[in-house]
Symmetry: none
Subunit: 287 residues, 2 copies
DNA sequence: GAATAAATGTAATTTAGCAACATAATTTGA
DNA sequence: TCAAATTATGTTGCTAAATTACATTTATTC
């Protein structure tokens, strides 16, 4: 149990004066870290030894030790739990919560990723005469991102968030072509239809989607992403980050497997792009 | 950056004696918490003021403050550090490294975000007759994502990854319109030009980009994202996640500030989208 | 309502941290 | 290579912070 939790729990056990101290600490724990025992005593309107006794009551060896434990307690935060945002949240707490949810999602991804499926996918990419990424809505931007990344290589790559185009592409897919379907829920009807068409064309169908979803059933390989309960009004944002990270990993693995000769090409691309950028040293010279 | 990360990073900057202190601290950080300045000095075989100076070198206000920061740093848990991928990596280790880098990036973002700037941006959004998101290359998909999110509200929103379109949009921007420019480096020339045009139109220009970059200079409000050294061949992937999270936070804050009446609309949208999806119970019935 | 126990405050003591100064080591320029 | 300047480190003594011991107040019990 961290100090702050202990403080909450044993608030009633404390004597009157000690509780006054506790309240000051709980009101702004972060600020307490930079207070001396004297100023804390003053703010709580108690004497210094009372503060000291308060520290001992909480199991600390003294005031400095108390501050140390408080610091650790604060840094601990709530470790990566999905906490829902509500009306009372400040911008600060919104950021905290979103980042923590994202981290929670990443942790789940790390633990649950099917490495074998990823390897199969990369192998398929290496063989493929053409790679396509399809997604709709929020997943469209993930597909878009994947497309951007693969543009750096010499394998032709396409992306679409237009269902008609997707259907045409799916019908025209050749064996060995890899078509990657991205969907958070895996339940979007049209996308499932497109995936079915692709499968019928004999191409390799890969899904970045929820396991056991209708879309997953159309796929030869499923890179499952964890779908947290969507109890919120706010969009499922964290899981999309997991999709992106998954794609990052695919690209990175792909790059490595392509071998060193690809590096020269990447360097060249970088070189070329440099012309469209301001150099770092230019900063001072700008208007 | 937490104190331990900083300590790792600036180890070379430190003077000989200070490094001795650093080594003792790094050897057993946890134990250091319960040492006085005197005993730490003794163990490092240096004088007390040297330890004090060491603390100041790391940005602490003194020895007690140093211990406080160290305590927080330790409580943070595994310090997610950017580890570069190399040829010898397995798919598993690639995933690990990418996730850790992403988490590191998120941690940095959490600590360094300018909340006031975010609040200003949300206020501007609330006033705006129109919101636009512009990005190029990898940042285009981030802009794309932002666009998707804002489509849920009644404020007109546009997105473009086409520089000509962007320019036209910038020129036609009206005062109170908000134009958000997304760029990892903030050094892409065309995007800076577009931002300049937008500024001349009198619209509110917001940048999600590196602080102190040319693009940042064109912006009324900058939501700075941390740019790690791009020593790698592989793309700057982690920082893009930070941009996305930032946008998530903006959208969420925007939603909350819009008040409860927006919730009905969001519910309606959700309801409508449901028709395009397979119901959960349908899974077993599928072919 | 006195006696006792508990809580709180006062004053003195101790200790830790730090600034100012002194000295040593290193770098720089001729 | 050596002197000057700069930087790094150590010594001393002061200040402030934390703690202990003791006194006083406040609550509790019979």
């Amino acid at each position: 149990m961290t100090l702050l939790e202990k403080l909450q729990a044993e608030l009633t056990r404390l004597s009157k004066s000690e509780r006054k101290v506790a309240e000051v600490v709980l009101a702004e724990p972060q600020a307490t870290l930079h207070k001396s025992i004297a100023s804390l005593a003053q703010q709580a309107a108690v004497s210094e030894p009372t503060v000291n006794r308060f520290c001992h009551s909480l199991g600390a060896k003294g005031y400095p030790d108390f501050k140390l434990q408080l610091a650790q307690s604060l840094a601990q935060g709530t470790p990566f739990v999905n906490r829902h945002v509500d009306q009372s949240d400040t911008t600060q707490s919104i950021v905290e919560k979103i980042i923590e949810s994202t981290m929670a999602s990443l942790n789940v991804t790390r633990r649950s990723l099917d490495i074998a499926a990823m390897d199969r996918t990369v192998e398929a990419f290496l063989q493929a005469p053409r790679i396509s990424f399809f997604g709709l809505g929020a997943s469209a931007s993930v597909a878009h991102d994947a497309h951007n990344k693969f543009l750096r290589f010499d394998t032709p790559v396409q992306f679409s968030d237009d269902t008609l185009m997707q259907k045409m592409a799916a019908i025209n897919a050749k064996p060995d072509d890899v078509l990657v379907f991205i969907s958070h829920t895996g339940r979007t009807k049209v996308l499932c239809e497109v995936a079915a068409l692709a499968r019928e064309s004999g191409a390799t169908v890969v899904g970045i989607t929820a396991a056991d979803s209708p879309l997953a059933q159309e796929c030869a390989t499923v890179l499952a992403t964890h779908v947290p309960e969507d109890t919120d009004l706010y969009m499922p944002m964290a899981s999309r980050i997991a999709q992106l990270v998954l794609i990052d990993a695919l690209v990175t693995s792909f790059t490595l497997k392509k071998g060193p000769e690809i590096h020269e090409k990447l360097r060249l691309i970088k070189e070329t792009l440099r012309d469209s950028r301001y150099e770092k040293k230019d900063i001072r010279d700008l208007p």
